[in-house]
């Protein structure tokens, strides 16, 4: 493409000043400055949580949090990538835990240290009501934890910022797994299909398909497509 004239703005990376084009994300601004990122970069699309970052805006006394691949730079922003966030994860066998008992608290007793300060929610780069799901976890409302936490990208910023030293994202994952394992009903159609496959119900048909003439299979496909109905 043509070389565009770019407006350059100053940023600070770990205290060092660089000039970079405006409108870049933090991740690209670091790369434009010459940093090759190993820790602190993942999907580059805002879903994997690898690029959790802390930054400070010009003149602001506060540390802000975000995902480096999703946050656009501002002039004189102070940047640093986080290589790793240390957070406790309990070890458990998900099928042996009773979600309706005190097992949740026993697995993560530090849950009870929550003081309701809401720092976790403010730190979350994907706008999850972290404190609300921690409250729901304490009161045993597993379904609410699932609903509130389903978009978690596991970046760990909630754990890094929590003054009570809870690792909310690991707790949410634990509870979602409990819910999926114990609370969701079995699918009758899937149960039947598994039985049918095990009994060899489809074997003869697939054996035929494997040697079928290409034109015949294409014709079968065209017929299937004609009768497929709505997509959802």
């Amino acid at each position: 493409m043509k070389n565009k004239i770019k407006v350059m703005i100053p940023i600070y990376v770990m205290g060092k000043k660089f000039q970079v084009p405006e409108d870049l994300t933090i991740l690209k601004a670091l790369e434009f400055s010459g940093f090759k990122i190993t820790r602190g970069c993942g999907c580059r699309g805002g879903v994997c949580g690898a690029c959790a970052t802390v930054f400070r805006r010009k003149g602001d006394y506060r540390i802000a949090t975000g995902l480096a691949c999703q946050t656009v730079i501002e002039p004189e922003m102070n940047l640093v990538q986080l290589p790793f966030i240390s957070a406790r994860k309990s070890l458990y066998a998900v099928r042996e835990i009773n979600p309706d008992s005190l097992d949740i608290i026993k697995t993560y007793p530090e849950l009870m240290r929550c003081m309701g300060c809401n720092t976790c929610t403010k730190a979350c780069p994907v706008s999850i009501s972290v404190m609300d799901y921690i409250s729901a976890a304490i009161s045993g409302d597993v379904e609410k934890v699932v609903d509130l936490s389903i978009e978690c990208v596991m970046c760990g910023l909630c754990a890094a910022r929590c003054p009570a030293e809870i690792s909310p994202y690991n707790i949410a994952l634990f509870i979602r797994r409990l819910y999926g394992t114990h609370k969701l009903p079995k699918s009758p159609m899937l149960e039947q299909r598994l039985k049918d496959i095990a009994s060899g119900k489809y074997d003869a048909e697939i054996k035929q398909l494997k040697v079928m003439d290409v034109k015949k299979m294409q014709a079968d496909f065209n017929e299937l497509q004609a009768n497929k109905g709505a997509s959802v």
């Binding site: 493409m1 690209k28 434009f32 999907c43 998900v94 598994l194 494997k210």
Partner: protein, 548 residues
């Protein structure tokens, strides 16, 4: 970051043509038009974007240029510095890769009693799997059957798929949904407990199982958690750089590189499962990609060094509707369902130039033609060009609120940047999405090299020339599980007599004898986006402008 002024003017033109477009759908192209469009503008059909390999057992195989350059390079390993006589780790099964395929292989091999070591380039879970929005294909509904899934997969793959492998895929698929459910994956359900499913393009029945538009993320979170619970040994930031063979050419391990310390790590293993993913970050033809940072085809490079058989490497899937603006979402996919629900594809003047329901390849080629030689693309402040996907048509056709009801995730993501997709069009450009080919496998995930297995995108044969939507998520679990099980039961029990990298030396000698010299070493491990390379470019479009 709403649309800047330059783009805003074009948005207004799009608004003005809506009424006319509502009454006049752009006609579908004739087979001849389509053939000529593809031939002239689709990257898969253009000469010069691919090369025939000049070295190794796959000599003559047609592969993307960017991949050929890596395969035909010396190793990034300093062979003289490696001591193979004292391995740092000894394990039954070494799994290379921490995405869906690798993690599944590790869990399965562990459950079957093998001692497992999992080495991965970035964090456990960092992969394309985590980015998969759509769903996982499995014939679980009563009106569907594995046989129908078989037909769809073969037709999608242009009948080039390996039949036995496809049979394994479609017959295992429902049990994968069951396995993931039992691990606690919260699949979307209907009230009676059956799965909520949808039907991606090319499938004939509703069989894609999802968790909102976060399917891969949810599955990967759960599987990584299970790896931790099972206390399987994991080496993060330690990608493999070469495979190790014994004197008989059997795979007996790998050399890893610790990215934090630069130290090489020698792993001796009774079997190796490679689940290293695809090629997107090589940017074939200069395209943006929907792929993860680590998708640099390392597995293909390592496998070619040991003379594993490659299949269909020249077939790359480009998705027509990748995001071109905002910059933060560049290359990410926009669901095909948007077009199915009425979104037109239009140019900078608001004129339609292709029917919204053409196939992926034809749409991609039409967009490239419009943005390139026809000069009707919309240019962004970062120098990207794209066409409009006119999403407001969805509410115009389906009634107010339709967009929000169907595409809450897309709505949420764009609104963060001040764009309201129910009322404003989205800028799109084709994006590299998937490597259809790979290392040829059999039903157990075995390659032609003894004790070397493949799972997921690195493997070839499952999808033929072209993969259907939702078939990659099921592929990685089916073959991750098969490779994990077979390797755990059949790994080499007798210790290797000798660990050797002679094959790498032989490869480097061959390069010298062929007069191939390069400043590059491989595998790449991570792409280099430093300095100017941090900025967006659309190299492909400028190339076809020149070509015309």
């Amino acid at each position: 970051m709403a649309y800047p002024t330059g783009m805003r003017a074009s948005v207004e033109k799009v608004e003005q043509t809506r009424k006319h477009r509502l009454q006049n759908e752009f006609p579908r192209m004739t087979p001849d038009d389509k053939a000529s469009l593809l031939k002239n503008h689709h990257p898969d059909f253009r000469d010069g974007d691919k090369l025939n390999l000049r070295c190794g057992a796959n000599k003559g195989e047609r592969v993307p240029k960017v991949l050929a350059e890596l395969i035909e390079s010396p190793s990034r390993l300093n062979l003289a510095s490696i001591d193979l006589t004292r391995p740092d780790y000894k394990t039954d099964v070494l799994v290379i890769g921490g995405g869906g395929g690798g993690v599944t292989a590790a869990l399965t091999a562990h459950d079957h009693g093998a001692k497992v070591l999992l080495a991965t380039k970035l964090r456990l879970g960092d992969s394309n799997t985590i980015m998969a929005e759509g769903g996982i294909a499995a014939a679980t509904l009563a009106e569907d059957s594995p046989a129908t899934h078989y037909i769809d997969t073969m037709v999608g793959g242009r009948f080039k798929n390996i039949p036995d492998v496809v049979e394994a895929l479609v017959k295992d698929a429902p049990s994968i949904v069951d396995w993931l459910t039992k691990l606690g994956v919260v699949f979307d359900r209907k009230s009676e407990g059956n799965y909520f499913t949808h039907m991606p393009a090319g499938h004939s029945r509703k069989r894609s199982h999802s968790i909102k538009d976060l399917t891969g993320l949810e599955i990967m979170r759960v599987l990584c958690d299970e790896v931790r619970n099972k206390e399987i040994q994991v080496l993060e930031f330690s990608p493999a750089v070469e495979l190790i063979l014994d004197q008989d050419g059997q795979c007996v391990g790998a050399v890893l590189e610790d990215l934090d310390t630069g130290r090489n790590i020698v792993v001796e293993a009774g079997a190796v499962v490679m689940a290293t993913g695809g090629i997107g970050r090589l940017h074939p033809n200069g395209f943006p990609t929907s792929n993860h940072y680590g998708a640099t085809a390392d597995g293909i490079v390592m496998a070619s060094r040991v003379n594993a058989k490659l299949l269909y490497m020249e077939y790359i899937q480009y998705h027509p509707t990748g995001v071109a603006w905002p910059e933060q979402m560049l290359g990410l996919l926009l669901s095909e369902a948007l077009r199915a629900q009425g979104a037109h594809v239009v140019n900078s003047e608001g004129e339609p130039f292709v029917n919204r329901l053409e196939t992926r390849d034809a749409l991609a080629a039409a967009i490239l033609r419009e943005c390139g030689p026809r000069g009707k693309g919309i240019e962004t402040p970062t120098g990207m060009v794209g066409a409009w996907l006119d999403t407001p048509m969805i509410d115009i056709i389906g009634g107010k609120g339709t967009f929000l009801r169907r595409f809450a995730g897309i709505d949420h993501r764009f609104k963060k940047y001040g764009i309201d997709p129910a009322n404003e069009p989205l800028l799109i450009y084709p994006t590299q999405h998937y490597q259809n080919g790979g290392v040829q496998i059999n039903v157990h995930g075995e390659s032609n090299i003894p004790y070397l297995y493949m799972a997921g995108e690195v493997a070839g044969g499952v999808h033929g020339h072209n993969r259907l939507g939702a078939n990659s998520l099921v592929d990685i679990f089916v073959f991750g599980r098969r490779a994990g099980m077979h390797s755990a039961e059949n790994f080499r029990k007798k210790p290797a007599e000798k660990l050797s990298l002679e094959h790498v030396k032989a490869h480097e000698k061959e390069l010298v004898s062929l007069g191939i010299s390069t400043t590059v070493t491989s595998p790449m491990i991570l792409p280099d986006y430093r300095f100017e390379k941090a900025l967006t470019s659309t190299q492909y479009t400028s190339e076809i402008v020149e070509a015309e």
